[in-house]
């Protein structure tokens, strides 16, 4: 371990330099008394203006996620999707804004509210929807379901049902980037609730100790199932959760795709510069229940409605900008129509694709599929 760490660290220090670069090696990194914590709690960057192209790209990408999730909700309601299904509606700006700054090879890993992340990395809506319906053409051949999908091609490392687990895995992915000496980073997403798992802090310490290129993106939608942040967290400013590990953090308006993109840009530059991890706390909101079976009685309708209104909704905000910027209603409608077409096609596929063959139950357990039904 020590050897590979040194190798990785040396590689980094000799090949890169960045603005606020720390020297590698634990001891040198310790804060001097006058250094304090002020450098760790960072102001988010100014919100950059989007070009019309950027706005229309963001609009498309977010709308694709929203329409996908709405369709998944409908199919669930009709009994075509079973089990657990967690919709991302309301949080679309987070993954869309971050994805805009990633480059080929950057990894993405998240929890079970994962459909949006998959679509954002460019995974095929058909394969995602077919996984929900448990069909052969699903990304995990129907064996994983909503919470467990992966794509090597798109560098998407799942889809994880155990809360917090992906945070440590993402840290390992970042280590691998560093070890290989590539210029990639790992976007590790998790929720406000997951932020209380012990392994998150084990990971923070390692990532900072070894200067790993990881962006920890905490999607603070203010609830973990039925438990609000204030009922579960002693420190509710999640951007400060890395302070004792000397990890800087920013609080970002996760309902504004421009704010997300600006913060992600700065974060990506920071971690690619060999400065170790950074935390982005995205203030966001989920409109639906925790999962399809949650009537969400633990919060008021007013609270939800306020977040859904035109001023807050991430998609409405972009749409308004597009129209202000001169895009015609027809052109906006044309995008909507195109997206609906893609989603309908995905839904068709997910309903007509055959179920997997039961022999598939026995594949991909070990490297060699030798087992059989006993």
């Amino acid at each position: 371990m020590a050897t590979s760490r040194e190798t990785a660290a040396n590689k980094r220090s000799s090949s890169k330099s960045g603005p606020a670069r720390r020297t590698s090696g634990g001891a040198k990194k310790a804060a001097t008394p006058d250094q304090g914590q002020s450098d760790l709690i960072r102001k988010p960057p100014e919100i950059a203006k989007f070009t019309t192209e950027e706005d229309s790209q963001a609009y498309r990408d977010m709308l694709l996620i929203r329409r996908f999730e709405e369709k998944a909700g409908q199919l669930y309601g009709r009994g075509l999707i079973g089990g657990f299904c967690h919709l991302y509606i309301g949080q679309e700006a987070v993954v869309t804004g971050v994805q805009m700054v990633l480059k080929e090879g950057d990894q993405v890993i998240t929890a079970y509210r994962d459909h949006g992340h998959m679509l954002a990395t460019g995974m095929d809506p058909k394969g995602v929807m077919a996984e929900l319906t448990g069909r052969r053409g699903g990304y995990s051949k129907g064996k994983g379901g909503s919470m467990h999908m992966f794509s090597r091609d798109k560098h998407f490392y799942g889809g994880h049902g155990i809360v917090g687990a992906q945070v440590s895995l993402g840290t390992g992915l970042a280590f691998a980037n560093r070890y290989r000496g590539n210029d990639n980073l790992c976007c590790t997403y998790f929720g406000d609730g997951a932020a209380n798992q012990g392994q998150v802090y084990e990971s923070f310490n390692m990532a900072s100790l070894w200067d790993l290129p990881v962006i920890y993106i905490i999607e603070n939608n203010q609830y973990a199932m039925g438990t609000s942040v204030t009922r579960s967290s002693a420190e509710t400013h999640f951007n400060q959760r890395g302070v004792s590990f000397r990890i800087p953090g920013m609080e970002v308006d996760g309902m504004d795709v421009r704010a997300v993109k600006a913060a992600a840009e700065e974060a990506a530059e920071f971690v690619r510069g060999g400065n170790g991890p950074i935390i982005l706390e995205m203030k966001t909101y989920r409109y639906r229940g925790h999962s399809m079976s949650d009537p969400a009685k633990y919060r008021s309708k007013e609270e939800v409605d306020k977040m859904k209104d035109r001023e807050h909704d991430p998609i409405e905000r972009v749409k308004a900008r597009l129209i202000d910027g001169g895009m015609s209603e027809e052109d906006v409608k044309a995008i909507d129509k195109e997206i609906r077409g893609v989603i309908n096609e995905a839904a068709e596929f997910a309903q007509n694709d055959p179920e997997p063959d039961p022999s598939e139950l026995w594949t991909d357990i070990y490297a060699e599929d030798g087992s059989e039904a006993a």
């Binding site: 089990g83 129907g142 049902g161 039925g226 009922r231 357990i365």
Partner: protein
């Protein structure tokens, strides 16, 4: 009462009874638990005795052990059995060993409630039956009720027990009976005799099995959801099987098992968990050791396949009544 209400009632009467008892876990307080088992308990007993925790299974169990060592009796909920693994170290290394290690000075009188099992389309991370992992750990007890009446009586005994108890709740049975026939309409508990649950405190001792059905041809050993699957299988196929609901696997009512198998000369063991290394292996060894000369057929095990719990093949994976029938028939052919 259904199973949820019976469990709620057990917690209620014990919280009322003993100020050292408290209950906590994820979504347990304000929300009343994702399965509603702790519904209204926070209202009734206040924030210090029924409360929410962060999502920190290791911490939940570990703090409970500390509380227990100082004389409190915490009852914690791990939301799904699949999430208990972050707490496994604390259960194995601390809770199970505290008494032995401290020369009997300290112990961990904690109860860990865990909804477990499949049949709910939960896939890999919401369907597992990990009881064998715990049965293997000396110092822990493992209890698995199959109906509302037992659920209340066993939970009260578990709470009063001075050793750490893992209390597995078959979540598919919470709100109704399930016989492993997914196309049948849901059968509510209310018509079942074991749904007649007294409001007051009563106890069912740990380690005492229940005779569900007497029979002469084969002994079927089951617990949790599989008790109902097995009963339905027996009724369908007409074999005169004796069905024993183990209720707890540690401690185990070995006397009841031996007495029955010595009479019938045949034995089928059924559990939802996968087969290899499952608790059925231990049961099979015990039966073989103690009933060798009475056995007239190989012992049969009906279990989940040795694969992860899949999303798409729920009913291929779940050991339904047909698999139990096939196993019973195999014992008759010898």
């Amino acid at each position: 009462m259904n199973m949820v209400q019976a469990l709620n009632s057990a917690l209620d009467v014990k919280l009322e009874d003993d100020p050292d008892i408290l209950t906590f876990g994820e979504d347990v307080g304000y929300f009343g638990g994702v399965f509603r088992v702790t519904d209204k308990l926070q209202e009734k007993y206040g924030l210090t005795r029924c409360f929410d925790t962060p999502i920190s299974e290791g911490g939940i169990v570990a703090t409970a052990i500390g509380m227990g060592a100082y004389g409190l009796r915490p009852v914690v909920e791990i939301q799904f059995a699949d999430y208990i693994l972050p707490a496994f170290d604390q259960l194995v290394s601390e809770a199970a060993r505290l008494r032995y290690r401290s020369n009997g000075e300290f112990w961990a009188p904690i109860t860990v409630r865990v909804p477990y099992g499949g049949g709910i389309f939960g896939g890999q991370t919401h369907s597992q039956s990990p009881e064998a992992l715990f049965a293997h750990v000396v110092g822990l007890k493992s209890v698995i009720p199959s109906n509302p009446y037992d659920a209340k009586g066993l939970l009260i005994s578990a709470i009063e027990d001075d050793d750490p108890v893992i209390f597995f709740e078959p979540k598919r049975l919470y709100n109704g009976l399930f016989e492993g026939r997914p196309d049948d309409p849901v059968k509510p508990w209310k018509d079942h005799p074991l749904a007649d649950v007294p409001e007051d405190v009563y106890r069912i001792p740990l380690g005492k099995a229940r005779m569900v059905r007497e029979g002469a041809d084969v002994t079927v050993l089951a617990y949790g959801t599989m008790v109902h699957v097995a009963l339905s299988a027996i009724e369908e196929c007409g074999i005169d099987a004796e069905l024993i609901d183990l209720r707890s696997i540690v401690p185990l009512d070995i006397d009841a098992i031996v007495e029955s198998v010595q009479r019938t000369g045949r034995c089928v063991i059924a559990h939802e968990a996968s087969r290899y290394g499952g608790f059925g292996g231990e049961l099979s060894a015990l039966v073989q050791e103690r009933c060798f000369h009475h056995l007239r057929a190989p012992i049969e095990r009906v279990a989940g396949w040795d694969t992860p719990y899949p999303h798409a093949f729920e009913w291929d994976y779940f050991p339904g009544p047909q698999r139990v029938i096939d196993a019973m028939q195999r014992t008759q052919e010898v």
